[in-house]
Structure formats: structure tokens, C-alpha cells
Symmetry: C2
Subunit: 564 residues, 2 copies
Amino acid sequence: MASQRILVVGGSAAGPKAAARAKRLDQDAHVIMIQKAPELSMASCGYPYYVGGFFDRREELLCTPTGVVRDENFFAGAKGIEARTETEVVAIDREAKQVSCKDLRSGETYALDYDKLILATGATPRMPPIPGTDLDGITTLHAMRDADYLRSLRDEGGVRKAVVIGGGLIGIETCEALQLAGMEVTVVELLPQILMFLDWELAKLLENHVKEKAANVITDNAVSGFLGQNGKLSGIKLQSGTELECELAVVAIGVQPNVQLAREAGLDIGVTGGIAVDEQMRTSDPAIFAAGDCIEVPDRLTGKKTLAPYGDLANLEGRVAGENAVLESGATFPGTQHTGICKVFDYAAGSTGLSERKAREAGFNVLTGVNASLDKPGFMGGKLLVSKMVVDADSQRMLGYQCVGPGDVSRQISEAAMAIAGKQTIPDLVNADLPYAPPFSLAIDHLIAAAHIVENKLKGRMVGIANTEVKAKLDSGEHPFFLDVRGPAEFEAMRLGLGETLIPLGKLRDRLGELPQDKDKEIICYCKISMRGYEAQRILWAHGWTDIKVMEGGIMAWPYGREK
Amino acid sequence: MASQRILVVGGSAAGPKAAARAKRLDQDAHVIMIQKAPELSMASCGYPYYVGGFFDRREELLCTPTGVVRDENFFAGAKGIEARTETEVVAIDREAKQVSCKDLRSGETYALDYDKLILATGATPRMPPIPGTDLDGITTLHAMRDADYLRSLRDEGGVRKAVVIGGGLIGIETCEALQLAGMEVTVVELLPQILMFLDWELAKLLENHVKEKAANVITDNAVSGFLGQNGKLSGIKLQSGTELECELAVVAIGVQPNVQLAREAGLDIGVTGGIAVDEQMRTSDPAIFAAGDCIEVPDRLTGKKTLAPYGDLANLEGRVAGENAVLESGATFPGTQHTGICKVFDYAAGSTGLSERKAREAGFNVLTGVNASLDKPGFMGGKLLVSKMVVDADSQRMLGYQCVGPGDVSRQISEAAMAIAGKQTIPDLVNADLPYAPPFSLAIDHLIAAAHIVENKLKGRMVGIANTEVKAKLDSGEHPFFLDVRGPAEFEAMRLGLGETLIPLGKLRDRLGELPQDKDKEIICYCKISMRGYEAQRILWAHGWTDIKVMEGGIMAWPYGREK
């Protein structure tokens, strides 16, 4: 039998993975990988850290762990793959099983036959539909050349003010990178919050932290125009009318899948705009597979198709596409939970599954629990975590979990991601057996404690109130009785300033007379993290008060500013 | 209705948790907690870090996160619990529902009635049955007074040489603590390895690290006697005959559950020697519950009863016991996966589920995969992880996972613990959606990569060999052909020295002539971590060699020493 020829379009993440997997599983296959950029297998998620100066050697973005640059020679020798860079596939002739390639250096065009074709064409950054985007000083952080450009600005100095347009994951990573590069940074976000994978109140904690780090954040506003002088960016104009001076603008308002090649070849494009594939990563043409940022995949929680342009999923999808292209073994990729994490200065922010907002949109009977605690004991240098668990109250299944703070967010999101994948419920999670030792966690892991909160709410043993609801009450002129049950020293050091009454938990049973004597008056209790707030609720209920609520997450989760 | 009286015997971990939960859920209950030690709610897992000088304020072991000492006043005020310290419960009269208490300060004895009794009597360190254990300088690290004693030795200096008897989790934590306290430490372990929750070859990597840190480890040997002068310890004698000079010996050979009180009261004691309880933490007497180190619980993997004296489980069990004691709500605790982790100088070691050894003992059709990789990209300061995944080849379910190294072991074990709890299989794990960003992980998380290795083995796409099997072959005089497929610079810097042949992977297809021409000759390939070793296997198979094996984990997982 003649060897089969596998053509892979795209050489960044999904492409190389698919190519390598195909070749490994069929050593007789002739695998050709075609890449538009000059580089191959770039660690593109590392660009912000190169720009921010976490490391200085550009090649580290292009090397194997042992320091070999992944160029054409590497792919030929170590992987048995023919890689062609600076080459674009401009058309697919499905009937002839042939693609047209264009060598971008020579301009020459030629045809290549395939037995199986794998599309890993990636995505392109969106640009705002406003004038001036061709000015010098406007870029994205998507390609290696973008990273090179921004890094050169860092190394040369001279850029004083930069604007990042878009407060998503890439926007916030870029904000940190530019601030560490010595620039004065402003992030402009169209929506009311940064980091849309979080619910508002957790995103606000991140926004507060970004501002503490001397970067500026403007939400609920958009860029209406770029301002220039002599072809160079000099500022941006916001929809609100404000003008911000800047010499650099990095656009990070999301990406759109590159589907033109697929569309022109008549392949099905999905509802989200990504290439439609089945679980085996096969397009509507059985000889063509697709993987990575150009496709749509199922959301494992809602079952709906979604775009999930993440580097880790690109690798997993590429692995499946590569295997099925050579073996037709029926390997599958089941979809995404939208698990993600990002570093934001001294904080991290992560999420897996559905946010409360998305779970409600999807029609679930949502119940949430907010937890704030250290990640490990104070005597081991524990740091704060604030998290929110989103649960389907009917099945008690965890639908989502998000976590922010300076503590070990990575462990939290990792364990939550696995728990969601395993369809675990609150009865499972309250007794999870997680690795405990003081250098790594509290005796009751933060996620387990969150499950305890949710269990108490599900069983009516605790009635919580979100801090956003508390704020809404205040804004609408309501006057609940606020009860802070911390100690006097804690109160002196920092408090919310809502007209609250301080009664330390340990004195509460003796000082019930200081509470409203109308037993139906709404009382909102809290403490630093609302563990003591919960104890207060149990005591007050037992003494006849009927409308007691615990403000979940307490002062540490309060996003609106405090009195010091 | 009169309020019910709940008596809790034990005030360390399970006891306070049970008492607090009971009181929270029934504010009318009269909850009395009786504690033999002078302290309450000690963070006993923190003792080694106090001894080792990670922090200096003793009270931190006894405080709430906001700095309030958890003494009798705290329990009375904040928790509504009557705590009696330095008081021992000496007998239970089940018929009268009454216990006899002895005040250890006054010697006075008195009776207390109960409606429900919760036993959280803990465990006692085992002592070796040899002469001399009463010498000054011999201790355990179990009670607060032990921590105080060892910390005083650190603060006063003067102890030059210490021996830790037992290389389990507590023994190894104590070894680090004493070494950091400035002592010259030797760990003596009866078994062929330290840290029995790991399989031998991973434990050996830890042992090597402990030795690098200038502590000594002696395995396969035991203490046969303590040597003394003037009532003071001067050394130990080993079964091998060797004598080791030392002024301090810390015994850490495990604990046994404290069941005397329960046994004398006629409660059922389980097969393992722990108090028998059902899923609701109820003993054979429906009015008596038990929780913590004194009970036995189901192993969730084997279904068999087991002892699991971990601080985190004590809390979870106590929570269930406390709830059922007041509400009879049917809350359950399902058992343990034996998830554990410990810090060992710059490494961590963790495990969840069954080790290979235990899985084989339990009769599973075991298949394993060993993975070695960085925890995150090199450019972000990635550190090594070596792990072993244990799978039931019939159901493809993950049975266990262990991980060691300087990298982020905590995240690895956390995600694996959740995956095992969710009964996830290899087809699930190969596509896990875990949080990826360069500051936190590789694009393909270390655990997912381990699942890929196992999948390749299950499907016959890779044939692996454990380094222990390789060593056994060498020791029995076999001479397989060893093929190291790294680069020349890597080879020069460090190699195994097994008479191996170096052919870099990128040259392998061109240099097949340098391999044995007998196509049935056993060839063992490897590289730094055996990713390239696996690629080599695929190539050699395609060229007709039949007996190729990949040495799993490569050089980084090799525990027997290397040539430099």
C-alpha cells in the first residue's frame, strides 16, 4: 500500500500536535505541515511574559524543553514531518483532494495532493470598527511579531503611556506585561467588568487589585476613535467623549476563527462561526479534519456549541484530529468546560464551568455559595482566596467554580475542573478527600468549605445574601440592620462603614438587647469572611429573629471599598 | 422539650468540629467537650513547622485565623460550648448514659449524663518494643508538649545529632524540622523505603533528595535498643549491629487508635483495631458516635475497612458525627482515598488512591504509566514533577496517582483526587479541561500527559518498562541494548552509564545501522523524560525491530544514581 499523505494547515499549536500525532501513529505517512508565519510551534501563551520581562531569551518561546528550536530541521529530524513556513494555503479543491499553496517569500503558487487534510488555521484578533487602526503604535498581542514589537518597546523604553483595549484574559495579561515594562497603562473595557469568565463581584476584586498596582481600568466605555499625528498614535477617544493620551494601544477584544478557507471550500460552518466538526474532529467532508481556535466545540455543561480558543484545548483537539486522520480509530474530544486561569500581578483569577450569569442564562435552577478564606494556615504564610461555587439546586451538581486572590487559585480551579468533569454533586464534594498538609492547604480545603456553605444553604441551615444584593438594597434606600460580629481590634483596623453595629460573636448571646426588638427586622450579619457571621445567624434564629441573612464572603469579598 | 446534652470526648480536631457543628445545628443543645490535654483545637499538623522555625509564635498553633486563642473562654463565648481541659473520661456507662470524668489537676472524679456521646479519642504514637524508651531525649511529635520540647531544643541549641525512627510522613516532616533546627539527622526505617504511600521508585527519588540535603537515611533496618548514660540518651543500636550516636530520638513509627474507653464500654471494635462506625459515624450503640483517628473507615477504592488518621478527614468525620448526634439527619461520610501530601525540603510528595503495590494486593488488573516533566514552561521557572498513574486495565478507571518533585505536586494530587472520586477513566482523563496559563502549568497538564502515556500503553501504541525492571535485568546479568536518544550536549552533561548508545532522535532514521541487526534483540530507549524515547520506539517498530521498550520517566525518574 502506498503511504498516505496528511496535509496540516497551521503550525502553531493544534497543527504541530496533529502532525506529530499522525506521524507517530503512522510512520509510513507523509506528513506535511504548512505555516503562514515564519515561526513554528510558538508558545504564544508565553508572549505576555516575554513582553513583561519574566524571561529575556526570545528563543525560549520556540524551543523544546531541552533547548532545541522547533524549526523545519527539528520537525524533519525529530518528528519526521515536512514543515513549510511562510507558506499559505489559499484554496482547497475537495474533489481533487488538493490544496493550492502560495510561497509568501517567492510568491510562487503550487498544488499539493492529500489523502487527509487537517485544518488548524487558528483565529485572528478582532479590531474595533473605527477609524485610525492603521496608525503606528496600534497592535495586538497575537503573533510572534507582535511580541517582538512590544518587547522592543520595553527594551528601548520611550513609551510612556499605553492603552489596552479589552479587559479579557489577554487584555489583562497584556496590562500586567506593559506595566512591568515601565509604561503607564489604562485598560478600557466596553462591558461593566473585566474578565467576563468571572461574575461581576469577583471581577471587581481583580479590578481593584489592578488599580492598586497603579494601572488604570475604565469599564462601561469603548474606544470610538484613534487619534494620530504624522501617522503615529497620539491618543484614543472614548465613547464618553474623554480623550486619553497614549503612544501605544494594544487591542485585545477577542479573536474570530479563521474559517475563510473552509467556507470557500464549502465546509459547514457552525452557528458560532467556527468550523463545524464532530466529536472526532471531522468536518462535513470525511477527508478533512479541523482542530484548534478555528473550530467550535460542545460546551460540556450546556451541550451547546461554543468557541473555546485556548492553547491547551488546541493541543487535545489536534491530538484527536491527528489520530483519526491516520487511523480512523474513533478517538473523540468531548468538548470544553471553559476552564481558564490568568495571572494578574499578585493575584490569579480562574474559572471552570458556568458562571452564575451563564448558568442562569442556560436555564438552571441556580444556587451559589461564596467562600473567602486563606489558602493555607496563617502560620505557613496563607494567602486569601475568594471563590464562588455555582450549583444546580435540583440535581445538586456543581456547574461552575470561580476563584480569585493572591492564594493558590491554580489548585482550586484544577480540583474544581475535575469535579465538574466527574459530575460531582454537593453530597460528594462536602466529603472530598484532598491532599492536606499545612504547607499546601487548610485542613478543610477551600473548595470543600465552599461546598459546606452551599450544603448549608441547600438545607436551609444558612440563608445568604450576595454583596451585590446588599449594595442594591443600600442604593434603593433600604436600611437593613448591619451586624458585624468581629472583634473590636479588627473593627478598628478596617470596616465597611454601612452604619453597622459591632457585637463580637463571643458576646452576642449576652448582648441580644442591642439588636432591633422587632423580630421581623432584616438583619445582615457578617465578619471578615462570614464564618462568624454564619454562627451569628444560627444564634439569632434560635432567639426568635426571623429575617437574618449572612453576607457571603464577608469583608474580604466586599468589592466596594472599605473604611480604614 | 428539655434541651439535649451532647458530650464530646476529645478536643483536638474531630472533637471540636463535632461539638461546634452540633451546637450550630441545635442552639438549645448543651454541648460539653472534654479534653485530656491542657490545650484545645491544636493545629497539630503544624508542629513540624513550628519546630523547624517556619514561624515562631507558639500561639499560632492554637489561634483562630484572626488571632483568638481557642481556649475555654473562646469555646464558651464564640461557640456556646463548655470545654473542660485536663479532664479524662475514664469510663462509659451506656445503660445509664453516663460517663465518669477525672479532673487531672485535682484528681476529683465525677459523673456526667449524656443524651448523645461523641468519641474523638484520637490515637497514640506507637513505641518500639525495645528497652530504654524511658531515657531522656526520646520523644514523639504528637502532642503540643512534644512540639514545645523539640522547639526548646532548637531554641537552646546544643543537640548535635538526632535520629528519627520511622520514615513515614511524620518521620520525614520531623527530619526536615530537625535539620532546619541545626541538627545532624538520620532517619531509620524498617522497610526498604521511606514514605510507604509511594511505590518504591518514587520514594527513592525523595530519599535521594533528603540525602542531598545532608540528612541521612537508613532503610531496611530497625532500632534494636536505645543506649543511655545517666538516664540520658546517648545513641541507638540498629538490628544490623551498628551503633549511632545521638542525643535525641524522635519516634514516628505510626499511631494506634485510642479505643480502650470504647472497648471497655463494649462497643464494637473493627478488624483494623479502630472503633467500628457506620457511614453516619455511629458506633454499635445508637447513642454513641465516633470520629477522627480512633475510628476505622472504608477505603473508597477497595471497600475494605482502613485506618486513616489524617487531620482533614478528622474534621469531615467530626462534622458528620456532630450533625447526626443532634439531628439524626442521616448525613454520611463515605470513606477515604488515602489522599496525602508532605513537604520534604524542596520537594513535595503526594499520593491519592492506591499505589501500584496496593492495587495489585487488592487484585486489580493493574497497568501503570510514569510521567516526568516540568510543572510549567521552562521560561516561567518550571520545576520537575515525576508521577505514576495506576489504572485498572479492565475498566480503565484511574485507581491511584502519586507525584513527587520540586514542582507543583499539590495541584497534581488535588486534581487526581477529584478525578478518582469521580470514577474517571483514561478516556475521560486524556481530554481533561484543566486551567492552563504559563505561570501555572504546561499546555498539556502533567496529569493529562500521564493519561496519554497510559492510553498509549493500553492501546499497544507504546510498550513501557519500569526503571525497577530495567535494574532487575541488569542485576540478573541481562544485557539489553540501551538507546539514549537525547542530544550530545545533554549526554555529555549527564548520563546513566549503562553502556548505552547515544543516537539523537533527530538522527535516528539515518543511523539505524548502528542498532543491533538482530531485529528481535531487546532494545530499551529513553531520553531525559522518555518523550523522545517513545518517538524512537515508534520509529524502530516501523523499521522492523520487535522488542523495543521505553524506559518510563527517562533519566529524571531514574532513582539509582547517574554519571556526571
